[in-house]
Symmetry: none
Subunit: 410 residues, 2 copies
Amino acid sequence: MVLKNMPVGEIIIIGDEILGGEVLDTNSFDVAKELAEAGFSIARMTAIGDEPAAIKRALREAIVQADFVVITGGLGPTWDDKTVKAVSEELSRPLERNQEAYNHLQAVLAKAGRPFLPGHEKMVILPKGSKPLGIAYRACGFKLEYQGKPLYFLPGVPHQMRQILKEKVLADLKVHFPDVTPVYKKVLRIFGLSETEMQEKIAPILAKFKEIKVSSLPRFPEVHLVLRGKNKETVEKMAREVKATLGISVFGEDEETLPAVVGKLLLKQGFKLATAESLTGGLIGHLLTQVPGSSAYFDRGAITYSNQSKIEILAVPKEVIDQHGPVSEPTARYMAEGVRKLAQTQIGLAVTGYAGPTGGPEAPVGTVFVGLCVEDKTEVKRFQFQGTREEIKLLTAFHALDTLRRHLLS
Amino acid sequence: MVLKNMPVGEIIIIGDEILGGEVLDTNSFDVAKELAEAGFSIARMTAIGDEPAAIKRALREAIVQADFVVITGGLGPTWDDKTVKAVSEELSRPLERNQEAYNHLQAVLAKAGRPFLPGHEKMVILPKGSKPLGIAYRACGFKLEYQGKPLYFLPGVPHQMRQILKEKVLADLKVHFPDVTPVYKKVLRIFGLSETEMQEKIAPILAKFKEIKVSSLPRFPEVHLVLRGKNKETVEKMAREVKATLGISVFGEDEETLPAVVGKLLLKQGFKLATAESLTGGLIGHLLTQVPGSSAYFDRGAITYSNQSKIEILAVPKEVIDQHGPVSEPTARYMAEGVRKLAQTQIGLAVTGYAGPTGGPEAPVGTVFVGLCVEDKTEVKRFQFQGTREEIKLLTAFHALDTLRRHLLS
C-alpha cells in the first residue's frame, strides 16, 4: 500500500536455506509489519541466496527504487556468509576493522566469559562508514548511508533481527523521515458471504471513499475486509457504512474471533452452552475453549462419534438412527435436544455429517446437519460442503457457531 | 543447493497484504520446498503489491533470468486482484473469455448449487493462449508459455495453491525439463526431545554421512529432522541409524501424524478409545478425527469443562474434586476410568489442567495431568508447561496422545 509522500522501503532476505525451501522466512513479515505500523510502506521484498552476484544486484536495484532498504542475513562468522564483502564491493566502501563493532563484540563476549577468538575477527570487519547497530547479541548488524539513503543490515536469526529492528532501526528511520505518521487500520471480519457477493454489495461504498485503501483477504473460512487510511474518522465512517450494508455477515472487528463473539453474546444474555459433535470430533469445543474465560458459558460437550454413543449419551432413539441414518435432520434434532437436557443448559448445539473421504447410504460426503436447541425450540439446518476432510470439519464448526450467533442476535 | 545444468526458477508473490505485514507469506516457502524436492532450484523470490507496474516489472525481470516462473496471488474476483490484466499487457496477450476456464467454473459452481454471477466473469477472462490449471476450486490458475519458458499463475490461497502446484505444476515442469531428477528426502518426526538433545545424540551420525544434507526444523510441538540426498539407499541407511539412536522419540516418518500413528497402533491391537477432556476442550478428539477412518477406533469423547459435568458424565466423586481440586492426580484418574466405563472401551484417555491465563488454588497455570486407563490399569502423569493458552492446549493434546503411543509400544 503506497500512500502519497510516504517513504518507500525494500526488504532483502539473504540465505540459501530460504530458497532451498528448508526454512520458512518470517523476517520479511516481521519487518513489514513493524514498518507498516510505524507508517512506512514496503514496495518489494526479495529473497536471494548467499551468492555475491545476487546480493550486489539486489542491493543495486533496491537503492534505485527505494528510499531505504532493510537487509537481513549473511552476517555470521562462517564462510558461507557473504553479505559484507558483496556490499563493500558494490558500494565501493573498503572493508576495515570497525572499532565500535570491535568494542561491542569484546564487551558481549566478556560478559559471557568468552575470549575474542580469531574466528570473531570477520564479524568486526565492516565497510568503511558503517555504523554498528549493536545491542545484546554478538551479531550486531550495521547501517550505511548511500546516496543519502539509509541501508540497514541485520542478522538473519529472527529474534535478534526483531530486537535490533525495534530498538535501533525504527528510531533511526524516524530521524530520517520525521513526517511519517502511523496509518489507521480497521479489519471487518465476515462469514457466510463469498468474496464475490461481498464485492457486489459494497461497490458503491468503495467508489465513495476513494482515499481509503481497501483489501479483501480470504482467511478460510472467513473473509477479512481491511480498510486503511491516514484519517481515523474517515476509516471509521466507511467501516460503519460497510457494516450497515453487509449486516449480520460482519461478525467482528480487528482481532475478534467468531468463538469470542459468540462467547460475548452468551455472557451478555446469561446463557450456558453444551455441544454435541459427531464429524467435527471436538473441534467446536476446541474453538470455544481457545477463548480465555470460556468456562463462564461453555459447560460441556459430547463427542458422539459412534452411533451407540449418540444413543447412550444423548438419548437419540435407536429407531431414529435406524430409520433416517446418523446424518439426518431428526438425528441432529435429537442430538441438540439431548445434550441440552444432559447439561441442563439453555442451549444445545449439535452437528452430524460426513467429513469424508466417503459418505453414507443416507447422504453423500459433505452433507452436514446443524441442530440448535434454545430452551424449548429447535431448528435444524442442512448444508452441503465441498473440500477436504479438514475443510469440511472447519466449515461445519464455523457454520454451527455462526448459526448460534445469528440466533442470539435475532 | 544449485547443481550443474539444473533449470532455475523464480517465484513471484503478489499481494498488498504481504507487503503490508498483515499476512505471513507461506506460499514462497511451499513452492520452494516442493520444487527442491522435485530437483529444481530457485534463484530468487520476489514479493510485490497488487500494483500493475510492479507486477509487470517483476515478471519482465524474472523471464530474463529464469527458466521458469511460478507466480501466486492476485487472481481473485475482486477489484484489488490485478495480476491477469498486468500479465496480458506485459506479454502482449489480449484478454479473452477462456472457454475451458468458463466450463471449469460453471462446473464447480453447479456442484455447490451456486449460480454463475456477473462477478464471476472476471475469473474466466484470461490472456490469450492461457491453459487453465483447474482442479476442485473456483480459482483455477493458468499457465502461459513465453519465449519457450513456462509461467505458472496460481491463486494465493495457500491450500488451493499447494494443491494445484502438486497436481498440475510439478507434472508440467517434468514435461518441460525431463532430465531433472528428484532429491530423495526422508523426514523423521520427533516428539518429546528438544532440538539440542537430539543434536547431541546424533552428532556422530551426522559426521559419518557427509553427503547427506540434514536440517532440523522445529514444528511446534514436534521437531522434524529432514535428510536429503541424491542416493536413496544412503539416506535410508542414515535414517535407520538415527532412529536406532533416538529410539521411541521418533514417532513417525514423512507425512505420518501423531494421531495417525496412534490410530494405526489401536487398530492393530484391536483397541477402542474414549477420551475425557477438560482444558483441551475437544482438541484431542479433533486431532484423532482428522484421520480418515478414525471411527474404527475412536468411539466417543466427553468434553467435561465444568466440574459438574465431570461428576455427572464421568462419575468423578464430588469429594475428590472438593478435596484435591479439578486439576489433580485423583481427578485425572477418575476421569480416565470414568470415560472408559461409560464407553465400554478398552482404553480411556483423560486430561485436566490450567491452560491459562490463570491457574487455580490447587495448581498454577500450565499444570496438566494426563490419565491413561488401559483395561484395569491406570497411570497418571503430571506436566508443567509454559506458553500461551493455545500452546498449552496443544502440548497437552500431544503429550496425551504420545503417552498412549508409548504405552501401546511397550
